[in-house]
Amino acid sequence: MASSSGNDDDLTIPRAAINKMIKEVLPNVRVANDARELVVNCCTEFIHLISSEANEICNKSDKKTISPEHVINALESLGFASYITEVKDVLQECKTVALKRRKASSRLENLGIPEEELLRQQQELFAKARQQQAELAQQEWLQMQQAAQQAQMAAASASASQQAGSSQDEDDEEDM
């Protein structure tokens, strides 16, 4: 529940997350509200403690970035050595999960099909599309032509009663 004033010191872990963790280790235990609030603040305090210690260790080394080693040493020197095994395991697990996810997403993109095959399928699809397009265009052209012919015939028969000599021209046109 970070403060909207943007004050860094008001940063805390969300209460819901804390409640969940407490519930996991102390199921069926009634925990007072002020006690919960306290745990939230202790969390922040702990993070500052570890960060400061790790930072000091980092400064002493020739690195500029706080590394996992620095954090582990900090835990050790602050009396939290008992956490080390488990945090290391989790780190390993996180990396494995991230790796699996990367592999899975690239697998999904390819559907297991090699690139040449994908290209070939793409070409096929394009060819099909072009063919369909051509057929469609031809149909439209035919329809247009038929419509035009009918229009002409209608016009011709209308004028045939006026001009007897024009029937010769019509025959020529129909042969087209």
């Binding site: 970070a2 860094d8 010191d9 940063l11 805390t12 872990i13 969300p14 819901a16 997350a17 804390i18 969940k20 963790m21 407490i22 996991e24 280790v25 102390l26 069926n28 235990v29 009634r30 925990v31 007072a32 002020d34 006690a35 306290l38 745990v39 603040n41 202790c42 969390c43 922040t44 305090e45 702990f46 993070i47 500052h48 570890i50 960060s51 400061s52 790790a54 930072n55 970035t65 706080i66 590394s67 996992p68 620095h70 954090v71 582990i72 835990l75 009396g79 939290f80 956490y83 488990e86 945090v87 290391k88 395991d89 989790v90 780190l91 697990e93 996180c94 990396k95 999960v97 991230a98």
Partner: protein, 122 residues
């Protein structure tokens, strides 16, 4: 490296934090770390470690305080249980600054009187 635990409700860990995943929001932990004086760059793996350590800490504190609670006959955890644990346990000593033991007004007045009496002895 993109992690899914950047927001509280998107964590993959649906069950227990004792399993090999993290349920605390990592981005929040990073923010808190950076608000520490002089802290600059934190490696992503170092961030994971700190987040998990914080989870373990919360549970460690809760369990220790509960086992040590004043009212053993009830299944409850109070503020003073936490405060007492901080005071009595070396590992949790660092918390005493933010965990003043709540003191009953009566006791406070008594201790004030005691101080005054001590002064009077000079």
């Amino acid at each position: 490296m993109k992690m899914s635990q950047n927001t509280p409700d998107k964590d993959e860990d649906q069950t227990s934090t004792s399993q090999k995943t993290i349920s605390l929001p990592i981005s929040r932990v990073r923010l808190i770390m950076k608000s520490s004086p002089d802290v600059n760059c934190i490696n992503q793996d170092a961030l994971f470690l700190t987040t998990k350590a914080t989870e373990l800490f919360v549970q460690h504190l809760a369990v220790s305080s509960y086992n040590n609670r004043a009212k053993q006959e009830t299944k409850s955890l109070s503020y003073s249980d936490l405060a007492n644990t901080a005071e009595e346990n070396d590992t949790f000593q660092f918390l005493t600054d933010i965990l003043p033991k709540k003191i009953l007004a009566g006791d406070y007045l008594k201790s004030l009187e005691q101080l005054q009496e001590d002064d009077a002895d000079f």
